[in-house]
């Protein structure tokens, strides 16, 4: 490829939401922009292709959002899930800017739909993309291409060459061939490192080998590692990741939303020895699903099995893989590869401990066990009616928290407190600044959109200086 052609005002690393919003803003401000996306075109868009909504502040109902959702409530929600591991100034700036995010998205051709069935609780706070994140990205890519943004697919950035406080050039591998790319300004929007199993092992030990990655296999964290190794300041806990329990039959990567399983609260969950290990009915599922990834990860072989009977069969969203069914607990154990006697004993002990009560699937019903360890404190109905049903569970990693530190202009900060002159960051790669722990539905896209836009505008201003 012609070396001269690869000289741009702004080079954006990544091809997800954070990258495209940055590229669009930068181009709208008049800069020449190149986007480098590691994935091939058909799989472009990182984890953003698996998303469905964005959490947006609004003072009055919009086309798809009901009532209002104001800054303080949004902030309280964030404070609660992060337990305070957030930066208030950056967080409030993000929250306020989500107001303008929706009109910007609509201008770029993104279409919205009313909140999906089963997510009524989000209809006030979260705007859903018609068709989901891939459709959103299709709109962004089409808008970017129409504006003259150039995109190289199958192109991985392997090194960001930093000299003092400036990025000099990028080393990339484009369709298998090494290249150098120079931009006056660089925006890093390459996501987290959740698909890098070796890196996950450093924090989790060998058990990480058995983790399933819910999103893109291209989130290898190569740029993040490279930046941190060159004196860029880090934020977020390097050992933490957002992990949920998903269907154990899901593909290693890119299983996305469809592989989730919502049966846990109506079930008992056993490990490979047929033993229970946690209170399945602790709270309503949306508040608990994110702890089950870690719980399963701590079990032998990082696998667990959720067991229900036919009474509970239709209480949760359908699963993507068929339910495993049998006419007896022993036969089900056989099919799941468990010791039949062990599972029978666990189910019998559980059934004996269930205290009769009025069962309500849609709220905390207080139907509990007595004298059972660990207890089940809601929805504890005996498992009696054949066919008996099982689902295998494995930890599914959504994203990692470790990132680079930025300021309110999305400029990347160095360990010595200095500000990089021509390096900006947006999205998952810097989200740890605001979301140090936990997760708030739709906040990943909020951070990516807001900081993507800031990075794009600031980068364009920087070029003009």
């Amino acid at each position: 490829m012609d070396q001269k052609a690869l000289r741009y005002d702004i080079v954006v690393i990544g091809g997800g939401n954070a990258a495209l919003t940055a590229a669009l803003e930068a181009r709208l401000a008049g800069a020449s922009v190149l986007v480098l996306e590691h994935a091939p075109k058909a799989m472009r868009g990182g984890n953003s292709r698996h998303t469905r909504n964005i959490r947006a502040m609004h003072a009055a109902p919009t086309s798809v959002l009901t009532e209002s959702y104001l800054e303080d409530e949004y902030w309280d929600d964030l404070l609660r899930v992060t337990g305070g591991q957030t930066d208030e100034a950056l967080a409030r700036l993000t929250i306020r800017a989500t107001q303008e995010a929706l009109p910007f998205m609509a201008r770029c051709g993104v279409k919205f739909q009313p909140s999906l069935t089963g997510t009524l609780s989000l209809s006030r706070t979260n705007a859903f993309f018609l068709g989901g994140g891939k459709a959103l990205l299709n709109a962004y890519y089409a808008a970017a291409e129409a504006l003259g943004v150039e995109v190289l697919y199958d192109t991985q950035v392997t090194e960001v060459a930093i000299d003092g406080r400036r990025v000099r050039r990028l080393k990339v591998v484009c369709k298998g061939f090494p290249l150098e790319v120079t931009g006056k300004v660089v925006i890093a929007a390459s996501g987290g490192f959740q698909a890098n199993i070796e890196w996950l092992k450093q924090a989790w030990g060998p058990q990480a080998e058995n983790f399933l990655i819910r999103g893109t296999p291209y989130a290898q964290g190569r740029v993040l590692r490279n930046l941190l190794d060159q004196g860029i300041a880090s934020v977020g806990d390097p050992t933490q990741c957002h992990a949920v329990a998903i269907d154990g039959r899901a593909p290693k990567f890119d299983g996305g939303i469809a592989t989730r399983l919502d049966c846990v609260p109506f079930s008992i969950v056993v490990n490979k020895h047929g033993q229970r290990f946690y209170n399945e009915g602790e709270d309503v599922w949306p508040k608990r699903y994110a702890i089950w990834g870690r719980l399963v990860a701590q079990q032998p072989d990082q696998v667990a099995y959720s067991i229900i009977d036919s009474q509970a069969e239709k209480l949760f969203m359908p699963s993507v893989f068929p339910a495993i069914k049998a006419d007896s607990i022993a036969a089900l154990a056989e099919k799941l590869g468990l010791e039949p006697a062990a599972l029978e004993a666990t189910v019998a002990a559980y059934n004996a401990a269930c205290v009769p009560g009025d069962f309500y699937s849609s709220r905390l019903d207080g139907v509990h066990t007595q004298g059972l360890e660990p207890p089940k404190t809601n929805w504890a109905r005996p498992i009696l009616q054949a066919p008996f049903i099982g689902y295998p569970l494995r930890p599914g990693i959504t994203f990692t928290y470790l990132g680079v530190k930025v300021n309110e202009r999305a400029e990347v900060i160095m360990q010595d407190g200095g500000v990089m002159e021509n390096l900006y960051a947006s999205g998952e790669i810097m989200a740890g600044s605001i979301l140090g722990k936990g997760y708030l539905a739709g906040f990943g896209m909020a951070i990516g959109t807001v900081f993507g836009r800031i990075a794009g505008k600031e980068a364009a201003r920087n070029v003009q200086r």
Partner: protein, 370 residues
Amino acid sequence: MSSVEMIESPAMADSRRAMEVCNACRYCEGFCAVFPAMELHRDFAAGDLSYLANLCHGCKGCYYACQYAPPHEFGINVARSFALLRQESYAEHAWPAPLGRAFARNGLVTSLAMAGGIALVLLLTFLLQSPGTIFGVLPVTPGAGFYLIIPKAVMTLTALAAGLFAVLAMGMGLASYWRASGTRGWSVKDLRQACKDAASLRYLGGNGHGCNDKDGSFSTTRRHLHHLMAYGFLLCFAATSVGAFEDLILGWPAPYPLLSLPVLLGLAGGIGIIFGCAGLLWVKLQADQEPQARELLGADAGLLLLLLLIAATGLLLLALRGTSAQGVTLCVHLGLVLGFFVTMPYSKFVHGLYRFAALLRNAREQREAG
């Protein structure tokens, strides 16, 4: 159940797997009627799937939006799976049953019908009429004109016989499909809703957002072209009906002057069909091949071409009135119309009926679901 029905076809198996993935995902809920209809189920019987396939308008919105589309290992392509299943449902319910095989190579069947129809009419005319009449300049007066080439009784009786058979065959097919897809009753309100959805092609427009006609971008081109074609067809049908009524009942024999109802209706309809069909063919050839079922290109293109040729020869006939070319043009036009009538129940034409039935069931189910 016969043993043939018990072995599930690949299109059926594919559609079931797609619906199971979609039902766990649901991201495409806002595109069309299929996803809300799907959500009323947890398991999908063959009848349910063929209903959902016929409810699908092939807008391709869900293909471009799908994070599980090929090359993802799930390989979800609802638009394509459902197109194939629709075709299977036409074949399965065709009456008489053995003629369902015509759907396997529909492009070929349609082409043969066109050629056969033209050949037959030309042959018979040349056998029965003198060249002087066929190539003669005939007076454009009531009762004369083309009736001098093909007598009124022959024309009327052939059209009536072919038309009635087509209606019977399509009615039997539709009834069989209706029973198999497990639909029970419907109310007047449902009927009104289904008529509205069909007449506006509501779901060939992403529910208002436009659909993916050619690629990932949204447009309403196909919807508008289909309107041109289908309403053009209805106008031509109206022209023929008015003509037949005036001629056979009122005793005002054809051919009619240019400024008469049948001719004006036919003119408007013919132009609509020509532009609609040509446009749809053009879009089909331009469009991204990935979400399409290439196997069905013949059936789609065959019917489009047949309608286009009928309309074009019809207009040509009007233009060539009173010239020596009128005779041969008439034979070609009527040959094509004959081919169309004969193959109607065994061509993509039946999709309008099946889709309407699906819309009707959908109207009922959505009303009941609240």
